[in-house]
Amino acid sequence: MPVASAETLRALELSIGSLGQSEFRGQTRVVVAREQLAAAFTTLRDARGFDLLVDVTCVDYLNYRDAEHRFGLVYQLANVTTNERITLRVYLDEPDLTVTSATGWWEGANWMEREVWDMFGITFAGHPDHRRILCPDEFTAHPLRKDYPLQGRGERHNFPVLTRNQA
């Protein structure tokens, strides 16, 4: 997988300051502070041509060895002309789980961020349609968090029962 070029990393460093840069299996990963995420998006999209948002996801590091933060958001970006790829990581801790929405830069972020909200409870500021997507609206938990058990907590029993006349 093509790594991010030196120019991209330099441009990113100029806009957001020091990069927590690392590489693994040919992937360049950059740690971005939550406040600087918008600046990083603008630099990457407008100055470096990263026009494809491949994926937005989240990892809950609750029981992970040596983890310093609870949640890590992962943005996979690609430039379809030069085939560069870069991974942005944003670490979040409770209680403040709010981050800038990427929908202002890439419209494709809409459903990906809704899924992250649904599964992990991360709030995206400025998201146009901030609702659950896979779980029903009555659901209160965020099931991909590590403190949520594999077999559920019996949310089904608390769902309102609809009769044929109400439906």
Binding site: M1, L53, V59, D60, Q76, N83, W106, W111, I133, L134
Partner: protein, 409 residues
């Protein structure tokens, strides 16, 4: 069949009380034309769709949560059930990502076999997708031609691994079965008969007035929108994005073969149909080149890697084989993974199918995120259908190739 005029465009931002005359139609979750379980609530002005609100999650079964408790070899059975139209493509994507995390280089023979199977799955997926578009727009014969040929691919897979529908064909560092002469013969037969079927299919539909009228100019996605909305695969290529991971980031054995990436600029349903038809020809080219050049040698990585189960001969005749088998088969052992994270993606029939894996030392993933192309493509649906008529819904839905099992996971 024309695009929305400006009057309709402005209506979707109008207030609710001004939309009283609009009619709300519920489409799905059980409907023959959704093909799978998904629901769309549409606001109609007469026959014209003013807005569409997809409602998904009916098939959500927590695949990513299950991935945190099944080991890397067990989880392959779950990936079968994501895009069940091309299950082995998912298997290859999953184990490609796992091998990337582990840093294993698979054997040349394994690479070739995986390439051939991945391309067969691409043909299978495109046949279903185009067949369903034909079926939904009234071309039933076309659908039968496509399905008849998919049966041959199921037959090949059954001969190869014993399963017709959910193959679970790959293993970490290798495959479950090697090619047999019968499989090679069946694939050669398929290569011989398939071009004629493709010709027949194209003669049936490419200049068919009804089909062209129903798909041309419907659901247009421009290049900028395709990129901004994260489209990949045939849908992006029908809009002029020349991105194909097989060429751009060659994986498996794709760099050895001569093939082209079909692209179009129109970005409508007809362009998506044509791109898929052309891709099947290219896939066939790859299979023809690969099947005659499969390298000899083992399909699994060597014993030293301690990843794949050794052969029975090794288990019974050598001490290394016995120990290795024991280490892998016991539930409290298994192989070690790095304390790292990686993203591995392949060009699945539907677009970029990637897995973001977090390893925590054990052989069970700490986090197994799937980047499902169907999910990302279905998000574009309201945008594509706005301003078109109700009968265009099935054409657009079919051309996006939404597989609800992958959509909801």
């Amino acid at each position: 069949m024309s695009l929305a005029d400006s009057k309709i465009r402005t209506q979707d931002i109008a207030h609710d009380e001004q939309q009283d005359y609009l009619w709300t139609l519920n489409f799905g979750p059980q409907h023959p034309a959704t093909h799978t379980t998904l629901r769309i609530v549409m606001k109609l002005e007469g026959e014209r769709v003013v807005d569409a609100m997809p409602d998904i999650g009916y098939l959500h079964s927590g695949f990513e949560k299950i991935g945190e408790s099944l080991d890397y070899n067990q989880y392959v059975t779950v990936t079968d059930r994501m895009n069940y139209i091309s299950p082995t493509a998912n298997n290859i994507a999953w184990h490609g990502a796992v091998e990337k995390l582990l840093g294993i280089e698979i054997t040349p023979r394994c690479k070739y076999i995986r390439t051939i199977i991945a391309e067969l799955q691409r043909i299978s997926d495109h046949l279903l997708c185009n067949g369903a578009v034909g079926l939904d727009s009234g071309a039933f014969t076309f659908f039968l031609y496509a399905f008849n040929k998919r049966e041959d691919i199921y037959d090949i897979m059954e001969t190869l691994c014993g399963a017709r529908f959910t193959h679970s064909y790959t293993r970490t560092g290798g495959l479950s079965q090697d090619f047999t002469p019968l499989v090679v013969e069946k694939i050669r037969n398929f290569c011989k008969t398939f071009p004629k079927v493709l010709d027949d299919m194209e003669r049936l539909l490419n200049r068919n007035r009804i089909f062209v009228d129903r798909t041309k100019g419907v659901g247009i996605l421009t290049r900028e929108e395709a990129l901004s909305r994260s489209a990949t695969g045939p849908i992006a290529r029908a809009s002029g994005v020349t991105r194909d991971l097989r060429k751009d980031e060659p994986y498996l054995a794709y760099s050895d073969f001569d093939f082209t990436v079909p692209c179009m600029k129109q970005g409508d349903c007809f362009a998506r149909y044509l791109v898929r038809q052309a891709e099947m020809r290219e896939s066939l080219k790859i299979i023809q080149q690969a099947i005659e050049n499969v390298p000899a040698g083992p399909i699994n990585v060597s014993l030293d890697e301690r990843m794949t189960l050794p052969s029975k001969k090794m288990v019974y005749m050598t001490i290394e084989g016995t120990i290795n088998h024991f280490e892998l088969a016991m539930t409290n052992r298994g192989f070690e993974t790095p304390h790292e994270e990686s993203y591995g993606a392949v060009e699945a029939p539907n677009g970029e199918l990637g897995f973001y894996l977090v390893g925590d030392g054990t052989d069970v993933a700490y986090r197994a995120r799937c980047r499902p192309p169907s999910y990302i493509h279905f998000a574009m649906f309201p945008h594509l259908i706005r301003g078109h008529t109700l009968s265009d819904v099935v054409a657009v839905l079919g051309s996006l190739n939404i597989i609800a099992a992958e959509l909801d996971r």
